[in-house]
């Protein structure tokens, strides 16, 4: 059995197949934290004085990101607030909200809980039961993604946040790259990155501090650092295309442990070329219903709402 590559401790908790490194608990926690902080500097995700709004679901990814960002807050580099969105998924979201609240309290971070019901008048459960009655074939993730983005942007403006941080990890990012490629969605593909680059100042910049940390390592970090996290799967995620693609990449990773890193690196290299070819300046106006930026008469969220209200 190998010893820790950094300190020689024989009690190792991970053998990284992609790098050959073995690490004990302390060195794993320290090196993962350092990697995240290094990526924050490398991609200039945060500037001194930023007010960061953490999208805190209570899951392992956002709780880990919150804990690491808190170290920047403690050093007075940033201000940090957290928001938890209650989509209204009975039997699932309640625990996440409780755990998110506990984490914010432990760290002494200002925390807001907002809901789909409060902003859109319906829970995700109600949206899905309505859409099934109307035989609409949209997946829950479509509504959830659109409404969550809308709420995050709105709360960021209300809070005066300059950045929105999300817990996206390496698995999420490679899934997004592959999904958009497989669906031929090139305009969405070129938008993937550690930091959003919208020309529109009304969209708060989104950052992904965990973008280069594999999901299993995020899980290991949460357990090793004894973080309180909500470990459960969303009941609506089961049959999503994302999960299909995710399972495919995970099965490839077993034999090819570097596949997620090479997917990301390869994409980083072709992205500037794709951007040059594909970028079009979309003139954005204002949604006539909610006042958020929109490329048409209505933003995506309000398109759904108007349809339901008819």
């Amino acid at each position: 059995m190998k010893n820790c590559s950094k300190c020689g401790n024989p009690q190792i908790i991970i053998k990284k197949k992609h790098s050959g490194q073995s690490l004990c608990r302390e060195c794993f926690i320290e090196s993962t934290r350092e990697k995240v902080l290094k990526d924050i500097r490398k991609y200039k995700l945060i500037e001194k004085g930023d007010k960061v709004l953490m999208a805190l679901s209570g899951g392992k990814d956002s709780v880990m990101a919150l804990n690491i960002l808190n170290s920047l807050c403690e050093r007075n580099i940033i201000d940090l607030v957290a928001v938890t969105i209650d989509e209204g998924i009975k039997g699932y979201r309640e625990d996440g909200i409780r755990i998110a609240t506990e984490n914010a309290e432990i760290l002494g971070i200002e925390h807001k809980v907002v809901s789909f019901k409060q902003y859109f008048g319906r829970t995700l459960d109600e949206i899905m039961s309505e859409s099934q009655k109307n035989a609409e074939l949209r997946h829950a993730c479509t509504y959830c993604g659109v409404f969550r983005r809308w709420i995050l942007n709105r709360v960021a403006l209300e809070e005066g946040a300059t950045k929105i941080a999300t817990g996206h990890n390496l698995d999420d990012e490679t899934q997004s790259i592959l999904m958009n490629y497989l669906e031929g969605n090139m305009h969405n593909l070129v938008r993937i990155g550690p930091k959003s680059e919208s020309q529109d100042k009304r969209f708060t910049v989104k950052i992904k501090p965990l973008r280069e940390i594999p999901e299993r390592e995020v899980g290991l970090y949460a357990v090793a650092a004894d973080l309180k996290v909500h470990l459960a799967g969303c009941p609506y995620a089961g049959d999503s295309f994302r999960r299909e693609v995710g399972n495919f990449i995970k099965s490839l990773s077993l034999k090819h442990p570097t596949i997620m890193y090479s997917t990301l690196r390869g994409f980083e290299r072709i992205k500037p070329l794709l951007k040059r070819e594909l970028s079009s300046k979309v003139e954005r106006g204002v949604c006539r219903r909610c006042g958020e930026p929109a490329s048409g008469d209505l933003c995506k969220a309000c398109t759904f709402i108007e349809k339901w209200d008819k």
């Binding site: 290991l220 357990v223 470990l231 799967g233 399972n247």
Partner: protein, 66 residues
């Protein structure tokens, strides 16, 4: 040999062969090793770790997908 296995707070006594590793146990239980973190007697271990008589093995599912 007998060991105690904890999955999602449910405890079970299991009979496994001498020399079995965590990886072998996960295979027996049909749990993909890349989705879990495993503790042996409250300490996180890697999947090559050999299980001993009387060990308590806790399997924590950390990847749910979606």
């Amino acid at each position: 040999m007998k060991i105690k296995v904890i999955i999602n707070e449910e405890k079970e006594i299991k009979e496994i062969s001498e020399g079995n590793t965590i990886k072998d146990l996960l295979k027996i239980l049909e749990i993909p090793s890349e989705t879990v973190v495993v503790k042996r007697n409250e300490f996180i271990v890697i999947e090559e770790e050999i299980i001993k008589e009387g060990d308590t093995i806790e399997i924590i599912k950390v990847i749910y997908g979606g």
